[in-house]
């Protein structure tokens, strides 16, 4: 990680970035300036992204990969150019980038593809994905439900066993358990790059190394990492990865399934229909090569184009600068750990950690914390953040989560911290 201090964002650069986000200048709850600290759930969108989507509809809208007319050519070019932008952004080849409707869909495509392989679909090439009783799928205790439930169900359907790497008291994965939990029986090791609750960044290299030792496939949930730190999927050496557009300044409804070329070529498709087939008879069908094999039906074309614009936007700022900026914000956010009655669930230092800080307030339920913060214009997330097992591990049902992004300011954090103290005053717990 970038433990040295690279170029962060100057005040002028940050102001220029914020000027690109119209929503950040609106007010909420009777005139309070919006302090948006819910970027871990979904990010706000800058003008260049919104313009890219609108421009597509205004000037180039047509069905892609079919039709011989002028608009169809331009639409297809824009669609494929976006794939290049997103691929470059994460250090991948464009043909290894599959558009999906989101990261959840992408994870399900892998899991259901493996089930199809288990059922014998995909021929010999797909046998590497087949599971049987005795095989094991390993996840972690800090997964988002999207990277847990599909594997649970796959285990139930195939007879494989689900195991997991646990979380220590500081909210980090116990990487040392890789040696005992990941074994020759492990066929899949699915894990998050960064927790959407504790903000802890996973030692991906250690996970990949262990998976390679035992011949297991790696599946990386990069939803929280790709928007906030430099990520090169090729260098990380993972087999599959997923991330979504809407958490990285892009639109909703579009995400990415990344797979190493040979794996995408071997994985049986899950969603079947138009645009992904070669020859169709009444009894059989041959499928196109990836990525089209996994892109059945009409794609979210305008959204993919805007997703490409988001990757360009972040790329122009530079992910080193984004990460450095957010690291400063992390340190500022973590000041709440020193306040009486506030308990941070996650690492208390800013090393290998995102600006995602979840916490409890003694004597005040998360819903009530969020409600009072909202009254000061501060938008946070409350609840279990789609990570019930992680909350259960800490013996709690819910937390309040503040999460930052490239456009977040120190003033935002300060307003949040001041408002948090008002929560304690309101409920008379300080």
């Amino acid at each position: 990680m970038n433990s040295t201090a690279p170029h962060t964002l100057s005040a002028n650069e940050l102001a220029a970035i914020r000027a690109d986000f119209p929503i950040l200048s609106r007010t909420v709850r009777d005139g309070k300036p919006l302090v948006y600290l819910d970027s871990g759930a979904t990010s706000q969108k800058p003008d260049p992204v919104l313009d890219a989507e609108q421009d597509f509809y205004l000037q180039r809208n047509a069905a892609v990969h079919r039709g011989a007319h002028h608009l169809a050519e331009e639409a297809t070019d824009a669609f494929e150019e976006a794939r290049h932008h997103v691929a470059r952004f994460v250090g991948a080849q464009p043909h290894d980038i599959v558009w999906t409707s989101g990261a959840t869909t992408a994870l399900n495509i892998i899991a259901y593809g493996m089930q199809n392989a288990t059922l014998g679909r995909g021929g010999d090439a797909a046998k590497r994905f087949a599971l049987a009783p005795g095989d094991e799928i390993v996840v972690t205790e800090m997964e988002h439900h999207a990277n847990l439930v599909p594997w649970q169900e796959l285990a139930h359907r195939t007879g494989a066993t689900l195991r997991w790497i646990s979380v220590d008291d500081s909210g980090r994965l116990r990487t040392e358990e890789l040696d005992t939990v990941v074994t020759q029986r492990t066929k899949v090791l699915a894990f998050t790059h960064a927790s959407n609750v504790t903000g802890a960044i996973t030692d991906v290299a250690a996970f990949v190394r262990r998976a390679k030792e035992v011949g297991a496939l790696t599946v990386l949930d990069a939803c929280q990492s790709v928007p906030h730190l430099p990520v090169n999927l090729t260098e990380l050496g993972v087999d599959f990865a997923v991330f979504s557009g809407h958490k990285m300044l892009g639109p909703t409804g579009v995400g990415v399934l990344y797979g190493r070329t040979e794996l995408l070529e071997a994985l049986p498709p899950v969603l079947l229909g138009g645009s992904m087939v070669e020859v169709v008879t009444m009894t059989d069908t041959t499928f196109m090569s990836p990525p089209q094999r996994f892109e059945a039906g009409t794609q979210p074309v305008a959204q993919a184009v805007a997703f490409g614009a988001a990757a360009q936007y972040l790329g122009e700022i530079g992910m080193d600068a984004v990460f450095a900026h957010e690291r400063d914000l992390t340190e500022r956010l973590l000041r709440i750990a020193d306040l009486p009655g506030i308990n941070v669930i996650g690492p208390l230092d800013a090393v290998d950690r995102l600006a995602v800080v979840s916490f409890t307030v003694d004597g005040v339920h998360a819903h009530d914390v969020g409600q009072v913060l909202d009254d000061y214009g501060v938008a946070v997330r409350v609840g279990h953040h789609c990570a019930q097992p992680l909350h259960r591990r800490f013996g709690i049902a819910s937390t309040t989560r503040a999460s930052a992004s490239v456009y977040t300011t120190e003033q935002d954090i300060d307003t949040f911290v001041e408002s948090l103290q008002q929560v304690q005053t309101f409920f008379q717990v300080n």
Partner: protein
Amino acid sequence: MEQLYQQVILDHYKNPHGKGLAELDANQLGGESHQVNPTCGDEVTMRVQFTGDGTQRTISSVTWDGQGCSISQASISVLVQLVEGQSVGDVEHVADVFRQLMDTRGKGFPADDEATESKEDLLDDANAFTGVSKFPARIKCALLGWSALRDTLASTGASADAHAQGIKHC
């Protein structure tokens, strides 16, 4: 903020009625319901004991345990206060009026409606939840306990209207 968190609500939250599950009397009709709010993980387990039969059936006790926000916990406490000792028919009516209140988007019952006064009399402390109805995300919190009660009435067959079941997670 004060409109949402009325002092009545904070008082019930700090000193809730009926908290701590009591053993059910096997000689009387009784039932238990467990409800969760899937968006926040809040949960309640409620035990309801009945006495009497048919139209004379009344709720003799409601006890509960659970975890949740001030709105959900206070709402359950108010529920206990409102329904203990009441006939099942009357309780279902109160529950219905409370759900109506939750649909008023923070405005409460209309001042020019002649039914308003009797509804407000009926709801007593539960009128404090008028402000909650302004916040769509919090209405579920206020209804958590009422859903548990409805579920218990339906599952025990105590309900005056056997069809008043159905939606379990409001």
